[in-house]
Structures are given as structure tokens and as C-alpha cells.
């Protein structure tokens, strides 16, 4: 495997010391420090905007630091392109894998460096054998001939990891790899990561989930506001200590659902079916209530709410809001009856990244804001000013492009857009995915407040503590069917997970 001096050399594999990076007047990283050791998994945590991504991009050669020390294998380095860091043995696995969807797993792994026979013909056999060997080494099963388009995100990440290993990467950086994975998939990824650590590689892991950091990592570095705060051995720290370091204060209550008066039925879904996706789904949600849809990723939860809102079609069933039946497949009809959906994929479905904050916030209310059928900047800005400030979006100007905001602030813009429609029923799909602890707590508090004001809220979350902390009632979805319903008191982690992993007959 790693035959070079790296294995015998002592001292950290990769060192960043007081590294800084600014974009114009915006300081992305004030003073980032980090040491990665061979045979160790290092967690990098911090709120959004803490500078984690900037550090990753500097290591990957995507950005160049303005000042500070960057050493790799004991030598000072300056990566000016991603190819240079790759050649040096640094691999970055991003949250969204960047594979060629129409090529097979094998072709993706060997993209750009296919082994050849005489006359430049590609040696498909050697490629395939090597791929099988890689997956065997990783201890996972992925079909080498499958086009990557149909693979789950988890499998695509494994392909990226296999690619990194085949390039003999010494340092593997995983930027929020678990954000879109289900419990089983996370476990499989962790097993692979531990195997790589035991081979003597240095791994860095970025996550917002503390349980994962504690389950997987050996050391943890905390960053806040672009600065290094502390590095500790996992065994010598605690969740409370890390949260204190991350936010610089105590977060006393992460899931502050307060008791709200449960009122009339606000929305009811009857026998909703989309062939092959979900079947005979019925539920209702009342004003003042938070209803959580729990289940594994891919169980069909998002598809159900998307169909109910009208962005996806459905084959059978009805959706009724305040006595009126919604026209299928028409989000604007749902909006007219006071339904709002904050979608799962913030960057593709939630925000228009090329558009400014004001245009984003007023996109769903542009018809209502218009006067005599006309709309202009001042009308939009007045409304956006109000909603951006209520949600404390961190930005300087209302025409700041949404794409330049941090994930948490983008999410606030999307939430602002939908709250501006003054909905009666608010559907939130993974509202806290990929956002920092501080903003997470704010979102939880916001949902609780909104329920208190009489909104009916349907929330989807893959984080069980969030589901159990927030929901008045939990519906569990498994393979497109509802397999369990629990009141707040009945909903224990064991009960919910059991329903989420078993078919209906087995549950009853």
C-alpha cells in the first residue's frame, strides 16, 4: 500500500497553522489550525460560517490561503489546483458525489486514467477486476457495471471512496457525508472509514451530528467564526463541552416544543396513492399540532408531502384543506388555501441561488404584493426587509445573491419566503439538514412558536432526537406505507425505529 516514507515518518501528516482566507472584504477564515495524524479520524465541527468548508477547499486546492502555514508530509505545500492536491494523495468526498451519472461504477473509478491495452484500447477486464478488488477491500457490495445514475447517495459516496483508494489517497476528507444517509448506510460508511483508519490513513470528518462524531472519531477540532477554538481527544470531551465551544454559550434546550392548544383539523389526506412510490396514505393534522413523519431515507416521506402540496402528481386519493379539496398537481392551488412546503433540497428546490434575498423571499407572495397587477423593487424590499429581519438572516443587502449565503442563512431565506405567505399548514422537509447547532435550535423554537400561533405543522426529519423532541404525534413511513402512529408519550426511539424498519404486518 503506502510504500513511501509517509508511513515511517513521525509527526502529523497534514498541518494547517493560522491559515487565513478572505474574499474581498469578507473574511471566510481568520485563523484556521488543524493537524491530521495517520491512522486517526479527526472531526472538524462548528456552526455554519465557522470556516469548515473554507478549510476543506484550501486543503483541496480549490482556494489558496492568504497567509499561514500549510504543511503536508512535513513539507510546506501550495496547492493551486485540485489536481495537485489529488496527485499528492489528498481526496475529498463531498456531500453530493460528483460522478458521471451515465457511466458505470467502474468507468467512474478509472475516469481519465483507464488502463490500456495495445493501440490505446481500454482494458475493461483489468478495470473491472481492480474495481471488485477495491470493493472487497472496503468490504462493501456495489455492482461495478451499474451506471451511477441509479445508485443511492450512500453507494455513490462509496464509489468516490473507492476511487480515492485506487489513487492511493493518504488523506481522506469527508465533508458532511452522512447528511443524506439513513442509519444503516451511516453504519456501513463508518465501518469503511474505520477500516481505512486501521490501514494507517488520515481521515477528516465533518458532521453536524454529535452522536456520529463520538461514534467514529478519535479527535475533534472545534471552529467558531473562522477561528480555531480547541482540539480535544474524543474520550476527554462531551457533547455539552463541544456545544459550548461551538456557540460560545450554553444551548440549554435544543428541542423546546411548548404545549400548544390543538384545534380543528387543518389538512386531511385520504387514501393518497402514487403507484410504486406510496400507497393508501391517510392522515390529518390539526392546527397547533406538530406532526412528524419519521422513517428511513427513501421510505417515501418526501414524496408524500410533495404530492400533497402539488409539486408531484398522484394517482388516487384526496387532499383537503379547511374543507376545500385541493386540485392535484398544482402548488399554486395549495398555496391559495394556505399550504406551504419548505422542501428538502434547499439549493435546488428551496432557494433560487442566482437571485437576491428579496426576490427569493417574495417569490411565493409576488402576486399578493403586486398593486394593480404591477410589482417593483420597493414593494418587494419592504416585505423582504420585514421577513429577513424577523428570521435574522445574516446579510448586508437585500440584493445579496442567495447562493453566496451560508446553508443556515439560505434556509432562513426559504423559511422567510414561506412564512411570508402566512400559511395555515406548514410542511417542512428536513428543516435542519446541514445547518449549524445555533440555527437548528432557532428553527426548532420557530416551529414551536408557529404551532403556538395555531399553525398546523408537518415535519420530516431523519434525526430521531429531533422527531421525538418536536412532535406532538409521530407517523412512521416504511416503503411508502404508514406503519405506525405514536403520540408524544408513546414515541420512544425503539418503537419508532422498529416501525421504520418493519413492514406493516410485522409491526402489528
Amino acid at each position: 500500500m503506502t510504500d513511501s516514507s509517509a508511513a515511517s515518518r513521525s509527526g502529523p501528516t497534514l498541518v494547517l497553522d493560522k491559515v487565513a482566507k478572505s474574499f474581498g472584504q469578507v473574511v471566510a477564515l481568520k485563523s484556521g489550525s488543524l493537524e491530521l495524524e495517520n491512522g486517526s479520524i479527526h472531526a472538524l465541527i462548528g456552526e455554519n460560517g465557522a470556516g469548515k468548508s473554507t478549510i476543506v477547499k484550501i486543503i483541496a486546492g480549490l482556494y489558496q490561503r492568504d497567509s499561514g502555514r500549510f504543511e503536508y508530509l512535513g513539507e510546506p505545500v501550495d496547492f493551486t489546483t485540485t489536481a495537485q492536491s489529488k496527485d499528492a494523495g489528498i481526496a475529498v468526498i463531498y456531500q453530493e458525489p460528483t460522478l458521471f451519472p451515465d457511466l458505470s461504477v467502474t468507468e467512474n473509478i478509472f475516469m481519465g486514467r483507464q488502463p490500456t491495452l495495445s493501440m490505446g484500447r481500454i482494458d475493461r477486464k483489468a478495470m473491472r477486476e481492480e474495481t471488485e478488488r477495491l470493493f472487497e477491500q472496503l468490504g462493501v457490495r456495489v455492482d461495478p457495471d451499474h451506471p451511477t445514475r441509479g445508485l443511492s447517495i450512500a453507494d455513490q459516496q462509496l464509489v468516490e471512496i473507492a476511487k480515492a483508494i485506487s489513487l492511493d489517497a493518504r488523506v481522506l476528507i469527508m465533508d458532511e457525508p452522512t447528511a443524506a444517509l439513513s442509519g444503516v448506510e451511516v453504519e456501513r460508511l463508518f465501518a469503511v472509514a474505520r477500516g481505512l483508519r486501521d490501514e494507517g490513513r488520515a481521515l477528516m470528518f465533518i458532521s453536524h451530528r454529535f452522536d456520529e462524531v463520538f461514534a467514529l472519531c478519535d479527535t475533534v477540532t472545534v471552529m467558531r467564526d473562522g477561528e480555531y477554538i480547541a482540539t480535544s481527544a474524543i474520550a476527554e470531551t462531551s457533547v455539552d463541552a463541544l456545544v459550548r465551544q461551538m456557540v460560545g454559550r450554553d444551548v440549554t434546550n435544543m428541542f423546546p416544543k411548548e404545549v400548544a392548544e390543538i384545534g380543528e383539523v387543518a389538512m386531511s389526506v385520504e387514501g393518497l396513492t402514487r403507484t410504486g412510490v406510496f400507497h393508501d396514505v391517510s392522515f390529518e393534522v390539526r392546527s397547533g399540532e406538530i406532526l412528524a413523519l419519521a422513517g428511513l431515507v427513501g421510505a417515501g416521506r418526501s414524496e408524500i408531502v410533495r404530492a400533497a402540496f402539488g409539486v408531484d402528481p398522484y394517482d388516487e386519493g384526496t387532499v383537503t384543506v379547511a374543507g376545500a379539496r385541493l386540485r392535484p398537481g398544482d402548488p399554486s392551488a395549495a398555496m391559495a388555501h394556505g399550504v406551504a412546503l419548505i422542501p428538502e433540497d434547499r439549493r435546488k428546490q428551496g432557494a433560487v441561488l442566482e437571485s437576491g434575498i428579496a426576490r427569493n423571499i417574495t417569490l411565493a407572495t409576488r402576486g399578493r404584493l403586486a398593486r394593480g397587477g404591477l410589482i417593483w423593487n420597493a414593494l418587494e424590499n419592504d416585505s423582504a426587509q420585514e421577513w429577513a429581519s424577523r428570521l435574522e438572516v445574516k446579510a448586508t443587502a437585500l440584493d445579496t445573491l442567495a447562493g453566496t449565503l451560508s446553508g443556515g442563512n439560505q434556509q432562513k431565506v426559504v423559511i422567510a419566503k414561506w412564512l411570508a405567505t402566512e400559511p395555515r399548514v406548514l410542511i417542512v422537509d428536513e428543516p435542519t439538514r446541514g445547518i449549524d447547532v445555533g440555527t437548528k435550535a432557532e428553527v426548532h423554537r420557530l416551529l414551536s412558536d408557529l404551532a403556538g400561533q395555531g399553525l398546523a405543522i408537518i415535519t420530516i426529519s431523519s434525526e430521531l432526537p429531533e422527531v421525538l423532541g418536536m412532535a406532538d404525534r409521530v407517523l412512521v413511513v416504511h416503503e411508502g406505507r404508514i406503519t405506525g402512529e405514536f403520540s408524544r408519550e408513546e414515541a420512544t426511539p425503539e418503537a419508532v425505529m422498529h416501525a421504520a424498519t418493519h413492514k406493516l404486518e410485522d409491526v402489528r
Binding site: 489558496q64 428579496a358 402576486g367 404591477l374 426587509q385 437585500l398 423554537r445
Partner: protein
């Protein structure tokens, strides 16, 4: 714990814009095209004989009026990320229909209105194929480009109808009294204002930009993506047919091959005017400057006795430069930033 959200107690306030108005107005792609337009006009006035004469302006505007008209809906179509290549064929079809219906005994105005309605139908065919069948507009409108042209030529063969009423022909080429500006510019002006309001000052227009920037996010926000596109294709067809009626009167002739190939001139001018071929970017005044810039250059070169082949080469080069220059600028500025970062890095490290 008290809520910090949904209360105005800690209200932040935001600047409305990152940059002052003059910077936002001045440093735009559209302004660069207007600046180029003024520069070319100045240089041509000084160096090309007769360019500065009022009659040059009259003929120039008469020549580009049809392209100007078609550029209006085309700007909106391209802003949604679609394209309509069939416009020049609709001009031909509308021209032939006007001629055939007029010869059949209908009053000219009625014949023209029916031709415009036919243009709207042609546009709706494009729109339905794109939105309901889900085909890419590039493929659909290449198909209908051939289809509508075929219908036009088929209806009239190789003959031409030229017996149009003189008062209508005079109207098309008349000038606004006391100016060298053709009256057709009044029609264009009214439509330009209408399309500018539609794109820049209505919820519908906000939807157009949202679709061009992210179709999915627009759909999730309640923008009726398909309906918006259908309406724009119908508008494109109707305005192209109107341009066809004008074209017929301007040249006094209804022919199946009228305006052949003109769609490329329309699209070139729209892109030159700063509308992104990928959608989501641009403003209505840009393409107007784009049409005029190409028109002025062609007119100046023609007056300088340069052949039309050379004129085509020059407009083609200009178009490529205009599409390429933004990416070259972006590449150059990122390269400079990198060089600066390296210098500072080595100085401190």
C-alpha cells in the same frame, strides 16, 4: 426562553442594494452595448459619407423594425431558458396568409388580423409541444421552422402577391411627421413598453426570471412553469406574425420565402444584448441595443461599399466576442486574484 424569531424587537435592517444606483446602472452588460452603439454611430458619422444623413436613420429603422419586434418576445422566451427558432418562418407564413386572404376578397385589416391569429396558433403549437409533450424547444422549433416555412411556400408556390392597398403600404413606410423616424417605431415603442412592463414589473415577469434561474425552485414556489412558457411561445408567434404583416407592406410583396433566415439575426441580437442563452439573466433594453448595434454596423458598412459577406463575418465575430467576453473577463479576474494571493502568501510565509 423568549422567542427571538417573529418579533421585531431585535430587528435588523438591510441595505436595499449592495451598490449605489449609478454603479448598478452603469456597469451592466446593457450599458456596454449602448456605449458600443454610440461609439459606432460616432465613428461612422465621421468616417462614412452620408451616414449622418437623416435618410440613413429612416432606412435603418425600416430595415430593422421586423427584427426589433421579434426580439421583444424572444427576450422573454430565452430568459426562461427556452428558444424559438421558428419566428422567421412565422413571418413568411403570416406574409403569405395576409396576401392570400386579401386576394380572396377580405379587407386588408381583417386579413392581417387573421394572419396574426394564425401566428398565435403557430406559437401555441410550439408551446404545447414544449410544455405538454416535454420536448426541448430547440428541437421543436427547428421542426416547426421547416414546417411553417413549408406551409408558407406551399400555399403560394414561387409566386408573389403584390397588389396591396397603397394607403397601407404608405403607412408602413411613412415617417412620424417632422422627424426621420418611421411610424412603425410607434408600434414598436408601444409593444416594447408593454413587454418591458411584463418582464420587469409584473409577478408574471418575476416568474420568468425564476424559471430561467431554477425551474425546480420556481415550480416549488408556485410559479406555473408550463403555463408561463406556453404564453410566451404564443406571444412570440403572434408578434412574429405582426412583423410578417409589416414585412409584407414594407416590401409590398407577400412571398413564401420572406424573411428567410431572419431568426438568426433576432437571436444574435438578443444574445448580444446581454440575455443569457442559459436563461435567468438579461433585461429588455439590452436586445433593443443589440438589434440597433448590428443594424447600424451593417448600414455603415454598406454605405462604405463593403460587401454583405464581409458584413456577415463582422456581425458573426461581434456575436462570438460578446458571448465569449464575459467568461474571459471572469477568468482573467480570478487569475489575477490568484496571483495576488500567491504573492501575499509568499510575503507573509
Amino acid at each position: 426562553m423568549t422567542s427571538t424569531i417573529l418579533t421585531s424587537s431585535q430587528a435588523r435592517s438591510y441595505a436595499e442594494f449592495q451598490q449605489p444606483l449609478w454603479r448598478r446602472m452603469l456597469f451592466t452588460r446593457e450599458m456596454a452595448v449602448y456605449a458600443a452603439l454610440v461609439a459606432v454611430m460616432l465613428v461612422a458619422s465621421l468616417t462614412v459619407k452620408n451616414f449622418a444623413a437623416p435618410i440613413t436613420a429612416t432606412y435603418l429603422l425600416l430595415d430593422v423594425a421586423a427584427i426589433l419586434l421579434m426580439a421583444l418576445p424572444m427576450t422573454l422566451v430565452i430568459t426562461t431558458g427556452e428558444i424559438d427558432l421558428s419566428v422567421a418562418s412565422v413571418v413568411g407564413l403570416s406574409s403569405v396568409l395576409t396576401g392570400v386572404l386579401y386576394e380572396a376578397g377580405l379587407p386588408f385589416a381583417l386579413a392581417a388580423l387573421l394572419a396574426i391569429a394564425a401566428g398565435a396558433v403557430a406559437g401555441s403549437i410550439n408551446g404545447l409541444l414544449v410544455t405538454k409533450v416535454g420536448l426541448p424547444s430547440l428541437a421543436v422549433t427547428i421542426g416547426t421552422l421547416a414546417l411553417f416555412r413549408g406551409l408558407a411556400v406551399g400555399l403560394l408556390g414561387t409566386t408573389a402577391i403584390t397588389s396591396f392597398p397603397q394607403e397601407w403600404r404608405d403607412l408602413a413606410t411613412s415617417k412620424i411627421p417632422g422627424t426621420p423616424i418611421p411610424s412603425v417605431m410607434i408600434l414598436f415603442g408601444v409593444l416594447a413598453v408593454a413587454f418591458a412592463v411584463l418582464l420587469h414589473f409584473t409577478p408574471f415577469g418575476r416568474g420568468i426570471y425564476a424559471i430561467g434561474q431554477s425551474k425546480e425552485a420556481a415550480h416549488f414556489s408556485g410559479v406555473r412553469v408550463e403555463r408561463t412558457k406556453l404564453i410566451l411561445f404564443i406571444l412570440s408567434g403572434a408578434v412574429a406574425a405582426l412583423a410578417g404583416v409589416y414585412y409584407t407592406l414594407r416590401y409590398g410583396s407577400a412571398r413564401g420565402d420572406n424573411a428567410m433566415g431572419l431568426e438568426l439575426g433576432v437571436i444574435a441580437a438578443v444574445l448580444l444584448g446581454g440575455v443569457s442563452i442559459f436563461g435567468g439573466r438579461g433585461a429588455l433594453h439590452g436586445p433593443i441595443a443589440g438589434v440597433l448595434l448590428i443594424g447600424v454596423m451593417a448600414s455603415a458598412l454598406r454605405l462604405a461599399n463593403i460587401t454583405s459577406d464581409v458584413i456577415n463575418v463582422i456581425t458573426g465575430t461581434l456575436l462570438i466576442l460578446s458571448v465569449v467576453s464575459p467568461s474571459v473577463l471572469a477568468w482573467n479576474s480570478s487569475r489575477r486574484a490568484r496571483a495576488r494571493a500567491r504573492k501575499e502568501g509568499s510575503a507573509s510565509g
